[in-house]
């Protein structure tokens, strides 16, 4: 199970934080700080894995990837494969790149809710749900279309009949 996804910039500012198990606000901040502390002290050209038990408690692993000005971090337990998680980061960033055309830190800051939408499509309740970035893009675009439509505040049909009553 995936425990948390974080995006922190190289100055230690959180850009995105999603915890799949509830943690109080202060604890979240502390974890983000600790993770950044560990990451920024890591030399270059080493593995993408970090021993995370001292930060997140027993049975937790951390995989991160450093992009331009950002660290993308996944924390998870032993039921996931480290290398696969590394590729999941890749899926996330590739999807973002498709979505924003040459994604940069600014895109992540300004499109907060969209990033969350994407993340919700990839991971649900701590489990990997979707890894095809085309599929994720399709879902996101569907929502974008709704938002971009002239009468953007589309009403949902109130009747709850639909396919269930058929």
């Amino acid at each position: 199970m995936i425990k948390a996804v974080m995006v922190i910039n190289t100055q230690g500012k959180p850009r995105l934080a999603k915890f799949f198990e509830y943690l109080p606000l202060e604890k979240q901040q502390e974890l983000i700080r600790n993770v950044f502390g560990v990451l920024c002290s890591r030399p270059e050209n080493v593995s993408n894995f970090v021993e995370a038990e001292s930060i997140f408690g027993p049975d937790s692993r951390l995989v991160y990837k450093h992009f331009a000005t950002l660290y993308v971090i996944f924390v998870f337990d032993s039921s996931e494969n480290e290398l696969a998680m590394l590729d999941l980061i890749q899926v996330l960033v590739e999807t973002l790149d498709r979505c924003f055309k040459n994604v940069c830190e600014l895109d992540i800051v300004f499109n907060y809710s969209k990033i969350h939408t994407i993340l919700d499509d990839i991971i649900c309740g701590g489990q990997v749900l979707e890894t095809r970035s085309t599929e994720i893009m399709r879902a996101v675009e569907e929502i974008s279309k709704l938002e971009a439509a002239p009468n953007a505040i589309t009403l949902i049909p109130k009747s709850s009949s639909g396919w269930l009553s058929r």
Binding site: F49, A68, C104, T117, A139, I143, G162
Partner: protein, 959 residues
């Protein structure tokens, strides 16, 4: 913001982000955020703000909270948004509540009703948003409220909804297994879903269920194997391919499940051998994800019933991992080695030098993993080297958590494998001296027990030797300043028990030392207590031996101090000491027998010594004792009291909700009966119609066996795509393997790649291995018997290993040919083929994104040229280090010409850890400049051009 669709926020939000970005200190940032909170507080409570504005405010609140500031004043507004009729507002509301609230928050009660309604919505996006919220916000108590709707959604026509509903049900299972135990069969059903994505998602809950109870799922082994087979044969739609691998994430999950199912089960394992072997052969080891699958294969092989051929393939894969330049692969290699040596311990020997290199690597993560491996392979022959290494590392790090762990491991290894008493005591001394305050007190107690009991053999002289060497070293260590408290406790205890035992030290010497300890560490009461008790023991031994006891003056003053101590414990000990000294030898001997710490103290549980007292009391009219069991029986007889009791309980508050009636079913019950008793009726999904045609295949039922509801995956097998196995891929993978295993290729990359780290290729080992390393290798892997031949072992071992590699490789390629032959025999197309009509073997090179993907792929040391075609030559950019250097900051500085020059000559900053040639970067990043400029221009328009402090904000993540 053209490409950003309609997600953009107002200028205010941009301003906020900008000013926070430019804040020079945490205090300044806090000030800005607090200002923002004030603004939001004022605006958000305004009753008639337009919805769009409200949506933005909520997003701003989420942002503020992510920065660590309390935004609870806005929670209720987020909750209100979920009630909205507009999809966009509703989605934002759900996003905010999932981030703000936890499942036990008071406001959840206001959302449950909305979730219920939304789960029934016509619009699948609404249902998805609600399911997201369900995963995060529903707790044990509220599960029954939404359970029926979630179960209904399992059969929704949209696969996205089915996936999320499966996850929601899984989440329920995690939170409260009992409330959904009657629904677990749904996961089995979803496994046969028409959509591979839903099937893949179902593997998550199944994995968990199987982890908890393997035996109930043994019947699924064949189904999982057949799914995995189909996946590896590329029968899934092409969309599931990732970096040219067929659905790797599904493969990994399946392998994990098979590992669980096959563990210790020969019959089940035998069914898996073929498919796992196939994956070993087909796996593309040049991509990260390919290696992820390979690693999972190794894990699977080491978990299931061993098969020599598979073990060989696994050992091959491990040696490739360890020889790689990538730290990630080395890490995985070490981990995999740790799993495999449990089954075949001899394979560690081939890799001894690689392991030692990892031990000296600057990467801490890798180092720790290697220590973990060493811990697993410690024997009595190499314990000295390994524990010494561990202690050295322990001393060098500051991370208390890991220090503690490694210290307890050292202790454990030393206890298990210690070659001599001397060494054991010295090792323990080192561990305690450097990490004494961190180790568990249990470890200290263990050490004391060990010294008292000896090493288990009935060899009294060895035991007394151990004790006297402990006493001697402790007396020596006591001279050092500032020892950890736990260590001092051990020292005091040992000196008390055995200080005078061998007669080398006089009682007055030992007592003097103990008094020194108590004085030097006067603020540590535990140590003082240990010291007093030790003193008492020494004096007791003296008295029992008939010698006259003279209390040292410093000891007397110490006792006086303790007798008046604030600590009752210390006081009591001091009084006891006083009392013991006053007794005669015989009494002392029975109170404090010498060296009796291991004797069992007999406890009279029946308290027979009180019999007289009880008889007296009964005679005087006291009630006899009635055991508890009989007492409750009496209660049953006295009816009225029982009724009383019953009424009382029925009047009390009921905390259990009036939930759906549910049967208490064991998960062991076969699925057939489960289905019939299912309370929430699951309407057969409409789309299932298609699959009926295939499930009627007669062979399916014939070999099915036990239950009638058993999954008929034999039919499902035919569903995904047609059997067009692509010969092209299998050959390409075999050639890439060739290049991996062959020494020549490694050498070739060495010459072209001037700065790659040294590889462990066998030829090099002859040249570069330093004598120290060889020695270390010999002591770690060779054992003490071979110590004379130390230099020889280093040279000898690699040779057979490379031989093995070559041999296995030859066999492999022959197998490859066989599989090709098989593949060229095409099966007739299936009825239910919804994959593309023809599965192309090679990735179409026209797709620009594919090209990008190719670039993103990390190019490891043995990246084969096949992947990138003609660009490959350029891909082998020699400068690995250069890739990690930052692009000079300020590319996007105000100066426009600067931007242009910066981009027209892009520095090689590939953040994917892969290698890109500048040429390729330019061609694929064509739109980069334009886009970036557009973005920049747009932001300028909005008036938020970040100035110098954070120009990096604009830096394209991909370089």
């Amino acid at each position: 913001m053209g490409s950003q669709g309609g997600f953009y926020q107002s200028k205010e939000f941009l301003d906020l982000v900008k000013s926070i970005g430019e804040a020079r200190s945490k205090a300044e940032e806090d000030r800005i955020v607090l200002g923002e909170i004030d603004t939001l507080k004022r605006r958000i409570s305004d009753p008639d703000i337009p919805k769009r504005k409200m949506k933005e405010y909520i997003i701003r609140l989420v942002y503020v909270e992510m920065l660590g500031h309390d935004a609870s004043f806005g929670y209720i507004h987020a909750v209100k948004m979920t009630h909205d009729d507009s999809l966009l507002v509703k989605r934002t509301g759900y996003l905010a509540v999932t981030l703000f609230l936890n499942e036990d928050h008071d406001l959840i009660i206001l959302i449950v009703n909305t979730i219920q309604k939304d789960l029934k919505s016509d619009n699948y996006l609404v249902a998805c948003a609600a399911l997201n919220a369900v995963c995060k916000l529903i707790n044990e108590e509220t599960i029954p409220a939404v359970l029926p709707q979630v179960v209904e959604l399992l059969a929704h026509p949209k696969e996205a909804v089915r996936k999320k509903a499966t996850m929601a049900l899984h989440r329920f299972y995690q939170k409260s297994p009992s409330s959904v135990s009657h629904l677990v069969s749904n996961f089995r059903k979803r496994l046969c879903d028409n959509d591979p994505g839903v099937m893949g998602a179902t593997l998550c809950p199944l994995f968990e269920l199987i982890t908890i109870d393997v035996n109930s799922y043994k019947d699924l082994v064949m189904s999982f194997v057949s799914i995995l087979k189909q996946v590896t044969e590329r029968r899934l739609p092409k969309a599931y391919d990732y970096h040219q691998m067929p659905a790797p994430f599904i493969q990994i999950k399946l392998l994990k499940i098979l590992a669980l199912l096959g563990s210790g089960d020969k019959q089940a394992s035998e069914n898996m051998y073929t498919v796992v072997g196939d994956i070993f052969r087909k796996c593309d080891s040049s991509s990260n994800i390919g290696n992820a699958v390979l690693y999972e294969c190794i894990c699977c092989v080491s978990s299931i019933y061993p098969n020599p051929k598979l073990l060989e393939s696994a050992a091959d894969a491990i040696s490739r991992f360890l020889k790689s330049d990538s730290h990630n692969l080395k890490y995985m290699g070490i981990d995999a080695l740790g799993r495999l040596i449990k089954i075949s311990p001899e394979i560690a020997e081939q890799h001894q030098l690689a392991v030692i290199d990892c031990l000296e690597d600057p990467d801490d993560t890798l180092k720790r993993k290697t220590f973990e491996l060493l811990y697993k392979m410690t024997k009595s022959t190499n314990v000295e080297v390994i524990v010494d290494r561990m202690i050295d590392y322990m001393i060098s790090i500051n991370d208390n958590h890991y220090k503690t762990e490694i210290a307890s491991r050292c202790v454990e290894l030393a206890e298990q494998f210690a070659p001599s008493n001397q060494w054991f005591i010295q090792t323990m001394n080192k561990v305690f001296a450097h990490a004494g305050d961190l180790v568990n007190t249990k470890v200290a107690h263990n050490l004391m027990r060990l010294i008292a009991e000896g090493f288990g053999e009935d060899d009294d002289t060895a035991d007394s030797q151990l004790r006297s060497s402990a006493v001697e070293s402790y007396l020596h260590i006591l001279g050092e300043p500032k020892l950890p408290s736990v260590f001092l406790q051990v020292i005091c205890w040992v000196l008390g028990e055995y200080g005078t035992a061998d007669g080398r030290y006089s009682a007055s010497y030992i007592t003097g030392k103990l008094c020194d300890v108590a004085e030097a560490y006067s603020d540590d009461e535990t140590v003082k207590a240990y010291a007093v008790t030790a003193l008492m023991k020494i004096y007791a031994i003296e008295i029992a031996a008939g010698r006259k006891v003279d209390m040292l003056p410093e000891c007397q003053s110490l006792m006086e101090e303790f007798l008046a101590s604030h600590s009752t414990d210390l006081q009591q000990r001091a009084y006891e000491l006083q009392a013991v000294i006053g007794l005669d030898a015989h009494a002392v001997e029975s109170i404090m027998p010498s060296d009796a710490s291991c004797e069992d103290i007999e406890v009279d549980k029946a308290l027979s010594f009180l019999n007289g007292y009880i008889e007296d009391s009964i005679e005087k009219g006291a009630q006899p004792y009635i055991p508890e069991s009989e007492r409750s029986g009496m209660l049953n007889i006295s009816n009225f009291r029982n009724q009383d009791h019953h009424e009382a309980s029925s009047h009390g508050l009921r905390f259990e909700a009036y939930e759906l009636p549910k049967q208490t079913l064991q998960s062991r019950i076969p699925p057939a009966s489960l289905a019939s008793t299912e309370l929430v009726p699951v309407s057969e999904p409409m789309y299932v119609r298609e699959s009926y045609q295939t499930t009627i295949v007669p062979s399916a039922s014939s070999d099915a066996g036990s239950t009638e509801l058993k999954l008929r995956l034999d039919g499902v097998q035919k569903k995904w795509g047609r059997q067009t196995h692509s010969p092209a891929t299998s050959t390409s993978s075999s050639t890439s393997q060739k290049t991996v295993n062959g020494i020549t290729q490694v050498d070739g990359s060495n010459t072209s790649n001037s700065r790659t780290r040294e590889t462990y290729d066998s030829r090099k080992q002859h040249v570069e291995i330093t004598p120290e390393k060889q020695k270390l290798a010999a002591s770690l892997f060779g054992g003490s018997s071979k110590s004379e031949k130390k230099p020889a072992t280093g040279h000898k071992i690699p040779k057979p290993s490379s031989h093995v590699v070559e041999k296995s490789h030859a066999r492999k390629s022959s197998m490859e040919i066989a599989s090709e032959k098989k593949a060229s025999f095409q099966q007739p197309p299936d009825l239910l083929d919804f994959g593309e009509p023809t599965v192309k073997s090679a990735a179409p090179s026209v797709d620009p994104f594919k090209e990008l993907e190719g670039l993103l792929e990390p190019t490891t040391q043995f990246a084969s040229a096949e992947n990138h075609g003609s660009t490959a030559a350029a891909t082998k950019s020699p400068d690995m280090m250069g890739l990690y250097t930052e692009t000079p900051a300020g590319i996007y500085d105000k100066d426009d010409s600067d931007i242009l020059s910066g981009l027209s000559n892009p520095p090689v900053t590939n953040m994917f850890g892969g290698t890109t040639s500048t040429q390729v970067a330019q061609s694929s990043k064509g739109p980069n400049l334009k886009d970036a400029l557009e973005k920049d221009a747009l932001v300028r328009q909005m008036g938020v051009t970040p100035s110098s402090p954070n120009p990096n904000l604009f830096k394209d993540l991909f370089g």
